[in-house]
């Protein structure tokens, strides 16, 4: 196979016939409809943005287009003909290259190996021509402005470099379609510029590009058209030019543009519980490439909402406060005492609890009983010489099951058998057992039914009423507006706005979410 980084133009697709097109594409995972009858069309020679919040179906669509999953219904047409890819190799052979969101390369192999895996240049005897491979890889990677030893193990290089290697791999074949799923999330500004240059170069050669990014600014900078997905459905397709931020965000969040006020938010510092000292004081939290000088104060009994689009740094903020994400700088104080950074143990001991976003992966032990799930967090504190005082735990579990109105047949019932809402309450009970002073809740009502949602919301209110300081992350505007006393809106890892009092309205929040890269005065590096 010939390798030409600059490349020769593939046969230019003509006129308005899309190079890649889907019709009525649907996919379910168990009871979850990940994608419902989605129509999508990519023209040759365009950069097409694909946007949507969590669970919108972007990743599913990409995985269907690239042969990772097969659709339940609907058709995919590529270069004029209907196709059914059984596996990623089929899609790649047909001419669809993908740069996946997580870097999907092999860390133990060299850079050059990774670029050419599966299609290595051969010598006359059919063996891998290592010298030619290294040379071609060096040239390809070099053309992306990255200077690395291509024989170095990939895993030893920085994330940004690895991402560029993934891009080099995608470029090493002649493709008619290149799909980039959040390619910029781990790149420095300089590397982003290079990536854009590569993308535009591909476009000028008639390649169709699908570009996924949570950095809205990038869409206007790079893309020609945009398709918005929400809850697995197609919502909007249109040109980027002439589209304003608020309309785009409104489409992503499922809001009517009419109810959005462009100007809504006001100055900072308009707080209404000045009387009490904050129990949680966070200042200048810095996480490489993610958070830039996040500051946050929460008073006892106060619910502070964290708003922001996907990728704005909400979850990272609470994880950093909790010590689960390594920070470069900044301080966290609870009750005036500094908490040792980067240590979950010390955060817990100081009275910080985190209910994480992904309760399946990071919280619930489905095969254990309700009682054992709740007791997990207090076991170390309660046990004496390794023995667990059963009766004390029983009493505690019973109290919390009553207080949180957990609906289970008995404390011995397996958590797996409970509804999503009750699982969430079990997790909350687990953390409340540790008697936290600050409770960080990351999307506490996601994926649970309406009734349970209301109960969890009422519970949060009640907890705050008893003096707990709460930080609430939610993607639902109403939940933030009604649930939180104040809302901090994050953008690109910094606090951009604060909404309080009468300015804390749904439309103001939406406007703030859409608002550009305005950052808090002291927020940036």
């Amino acid at each position: 196979m010939t390798v030409s980084p600059a490349g020769t133009a593939p046969p230019p697709a003509t006129g308005t016939v899309p190079v890649l097109e889907t019709e009525g594409l649907s996919k379910s995972f168990g009871p979850v409809h990940a994608l419902r009858a989605v129509d999508f069309a990519l023209q040759a020679g365009e950069i097409h943005a694909l946007v949507g919040e969590n669970g919108a179906g972007k990743s599913t669509l990409i995985k269907l287009l690239t042969g990772v999953h097969r659709p339940d219904a609907g058709t995919i047409r590529f270069a004029g003909g209907e196709v059914a890819f059984d596996r990623p190799a089929d899609a790649q052979r047909a001419g669809i290259s993908t740069v996946y969101q997580e870097i999907n390369l092999v860390p133990l192999l060299s850079v050059a190996r990774n670029v050419f895996l599966g299609r290595e240049p051969r010598t006359r005897w059919g063996l891998v021509d290592t010298a030619a491979m290294n040379r071609a890889a060096a040239e390809l990677v070099g053309s992306l402005g990255v200077d690395v030893d291509v024989t170095a193990e990939l895993g030893r290089l920085g994330l940004g470099v690895q991402q560029m290697v993934a891009l080099a791999r995608a470029m090493s074949v002649e493709s008619r379609v290149v799909i980039m799923d959040e390619p910029t999330s781990s790149l420095e500004a300089r590397e982003v510029a290079t990536l854009f240059e590569v993308a535009r170069n591909l476009r000028s050669r008639g390649v169709g590009l699908v570009f996924v990014s949570h950095r809205l600014d990038e869409l206007w900078e790079l893309c020609d058209r945009v398709t918005v997905l929400r809850d697995g459905q197609h919502v909007h397709t249109g040109p980027m030019a002439g589209l304003d931020r608020v309309s785009l965000v409104a489409a992503m969040l499922g809001r009517d543009v009419a109810e959005v006020a462009i100007e809504g938010a006001t100055e900072f510092g308009d707080t209404h519980r000045q009387a009490v000292e904050p129990v949680l004081t966070v200042s200048g939290i810095d996480v490489r490439n993610r958070l830039h000088g996040i500051g946050l104060r929460v008073r006892p009994g106060e619910v502070v909402g964290l708003g922001g689009l996907l990728g704005s740094g909400r979850s990272e903020t609470v994880k950093a406060v909790y010590g689960a994400l390594p920070v470069r700088g900044g301080t966290v104080e609870v009750g005036g005492r500094r908490v040792r950074p980067n240590s979950v143990r010390h955060a817990l001991r100081a009275g910080i609890a985190l209910l994480s976003e992904d309760r399946k992966a990071e919280g619930i032990v489905p095969e254990l009983s309700v009682r054992d799930n709740i007791a997990l967090a207090v076991l170390p504190r309660f046990s004496r010489a390794g023995l667990v005082p059963e009766r004390r735990i029983d009493a505690l579990v019973e109290t919390f099951m009553r207080r949180l109105r957990i609906k289970a047949a008995s404390p011995a019932q397996k958590v797996r058998e409970l509804s999503g809402g009750n699982q969430q309450k079990v997790l909350m009970a687990r953390w409340l057992c540790t008697e936290p002073k600050v409770f960080l809740l990351d999307e506490p009502t996601r994926g649970i039914d309406v009734g349970a949602k209301a109960e969890v919301q009422a519970l949060i209110d009640e907890l705050a009423g008893h003096g707990l300081a709460v930080v609430l992350i939610s993607s639902e505007l109403d939940e933030l507006v009604e649930g939180a006393d104040r809302i901090l809106v994050l953008h690109d890892g910094a606090v951009a706005r604060e909404l309080t009092g009468e300015h804390k309205t749904t439309s103001a929040l939406l406007a703030a979410l859409a608002g550009g890269r305005r950052r808090a005065e002291d927020g940036d590096e």
Binding site: T66, V68, R87, P88, A89, D90, A91, Q92, R93, T98, Y100, N104, L105, V106, P107, L108, L109, R113, L117, G118, R119, E120, G126, L127, V128, T130, G142, S143, L144, G145, V146, D147, V148, D149, A152, R156, L157, G158, V161, R169, R190, A193, T194, E197, V198, N201
Partner: protein, 330 residues
Amino acid sequence: MTTTVSREESAPASPRARLARLAQRQGALVILAAVVLAATFSFDTFGTTGNLSNIALQASFLAVVALGMTFVIMSGGIDLSVGSVFALGGVLAAWGAGHGTWAAILLPLGVCGLIGLVQGLVIARGGLPAFIVTLAGLLFARGLLLLISDEGATTYKVPPDSAFRELAQGELLGIGYPVWFVLVAFALGGLVLHRTSYGATVLAVGGQEDAAELMGLPVARTKVIAYTVSGLLAGLGGLLMASYTSSGVTVLGVGMELEVISAVVLGGTLLTGGAGTVLGTLVGVLLLQVIKNVINQVGSLNSNWQAVISGTILLVVVTIQRWLATVQRR
């Protein structure tokens, strides 16, 4: 396109890290050299040509099997069936020798290759854990062996006039044929690993299977080939052993899979897959064989010490490898 950007990551590794890397890759070689040197000075009989060629010959049976295991482990799997398959191959070869030399060669290779193929298909296409599937293969092959040998009571003999005996008993330049087989097989193995797509794919599958799948690599096929070759080579090892001993010994190969895995891991192949060398495996096999030999040299020592010492060395080497890996990362 853009000006070249130099980065901290591309700076050459520190000498300390490079030394650690070398030690990790070649740690077994260092230990082997040390043991050989010590043994040469301690025992007059160790360094003799006769003893050394004996070590090489004895090691060759294990080495053939370990080569297949190396690829399986590098692909992120494990093959527990090799000991039983080795024994089965030997019995089939001895039985087949009664029907001609070709039967003695093709029958064991065919049956053992087939066992490997089926295991590979079940693992790769069925998605079952290799540990369980090859454990079943271990029982299956051993059971088959007992069936055809009247529960081990019948030991098939290779006819005295059979050319099949020559296969392992013959010599070239004073070195037994099995040793030559091993040298050729390992040279081919190295070529496959470093200079073919297949080799790189094995490492990719073992290193990051999901990524390999998304890169469009033939993941399933790669695994099927690895297990098939492992079965074939285990059968070949048994076949050579049958030729060497002129009989199909039914009690061979019990626990051999663990010895083979030890040799592979000693040789620097990651048990989790994704990295390794075939040369390392050869060194690992030799190390185990030399230890065995040295303990035999010390006449007073109970031969059971061999397992104790091998086990200890394995543990020490793996611990050092782990430690060196963290040193490199720093």
